[in-house]
Symmetry: C2
Subunit: 225 residues, 2 copies
């Protein structure tokens, strides 16, 4: 029985590590920091790493002998740059070898009712990503009920593959509630990522049980340790 429990735990942990995008976005991250991030991602068998545009090329080089993925942040963290800049930023990330794009859309313009602008922005990123997975970061807490319903309709039409929801804010069930709501509003065809404060394996498992198939976190090593 003891062995069976251990085996099941091991299996779940093996499954869990493949969901993790090992993330580092601090403004003064050094070359050595990025090399360490990539080495840890390889060591633990994570899905890949998630980094700022300036570090995409370095991360691609570090992971080139592996099947780990480099996720490039675009329009991060505010999402309030010009749409044209975000499209160009995606092209630069692709040129630098990024395998996936994670971008922050313009919620201010969306809340102003500019739904066409919002849809066009996402479609431009999807086109610039050239078949690579695109994740849309969506902070549901900034939207009211009606806006949440509409934004999910727009994203369903956009060609994006993933929606990334914030994880770990206090009083919100650590992101579980957001994931369940997103699954309901987005339907079954858009994958979910939880990103943010995921301090341990229990939090990670709760997010996976709520539908996340990716976990973006700076605490990846702590989760599997």
């Amino acid at each position: 029985l003891s062995w069976a429990v251990d085996s099941s735990t091991l299996t779940r942990m093996q499954e869990l590590v493949r969901y993790i995008e090992h993330t580092l976005f601090k403004p003064d991250a050094s070359r050595a920091d990025i090399e360490k991030l990539c080495a840890e991602a390889i060591q633990h068998g994570f899905h890949g790493v998630c980094v700022n545009g300036s570090r995409v090329g370095l991360a691609v080089t570090q992971l080139e002998e592996t099947d780990l993925k480099v996720v490039a942040l675009v329009g991060f963290p505010l999402g309030a740059g010009a749409a044209d800049t975000k499209r160009y930023e995606t092209e630069v990330a692709v040129d630098d070898g990024a395998h996936e794009i994670e971008f922050v859309p313009d919620l201010g313009r969306f809340k102003d009712g500019e739904h066409e602008y919002f849809l066009r922005e996402i479609r431009d990123i999807v086109e610039a990503a050239d078949e690579r997975p695109v994740k849309v970061v969506l902070e549901l807490g900034l939207l009211d009920e009606e806006q949440r319903r509409i934004v999910c309709e727009v994203i369903r039409d956009s060609g994006a593959n993933f929606v990334t929801a914030p994880a770990g804010f206090a009083g919100e069930g650590g992101g579980v509630g957001e994931l369940k709501l997103l699954r309901e509003l987005l339907g079954p065809n858009i994958a979910l990522k939880a990103a943010g404060n995921i301090p341990d394996a229990a939090s990670a498992k709760a997010l996976i049980d709520a539908g996340a198939t990716r976990l973006g976190t700076t605490a990846g090593v702590a989760i599997v340790s």
Copy 2:
């Protein structure tokens, strides 16, 4: 005597308002928020407004009958995007009518010793800004003593007109210490801006006395009220 004091206070306040860049960078700032920001800047006679790329065009339209300036944020707030993206972001801001550029350079690459990369990034922005003032946001707290000296040497060679220092962090004298150090390291030919938490007129005056000729703050109206 009472009148003289009032007059002096009034004169200083008139001087103070012309230093203020009325700032709004929250990710979901609405059209109405930006219109209010611009109306307040006109009403109080501020230097101008400081906004994200997505809102530059709107702010330019709001201020077009005035001599107030629109300052466009580039690479904000992390400064960790690709240099090429930041250059393009500057071009888009200029096309949208921005009068000044405020951008965050890549401190991670600088700290790795890539001084040429850092210099080239700033020069590219200065060139893309096409004679418009360029401010370099510099977080001295992320650098050691030697790095501070070198970064200021590089900026002196870059063609940038301004350095923006964070204001208002506790235990740092509200940014006064940073401004004095910057003046010493940059020499007399680069202007200084203090940006961040400047809650009232007393804080603003302390920063001006320490050498700032611009104040970037979300609290501009509170300062003059």
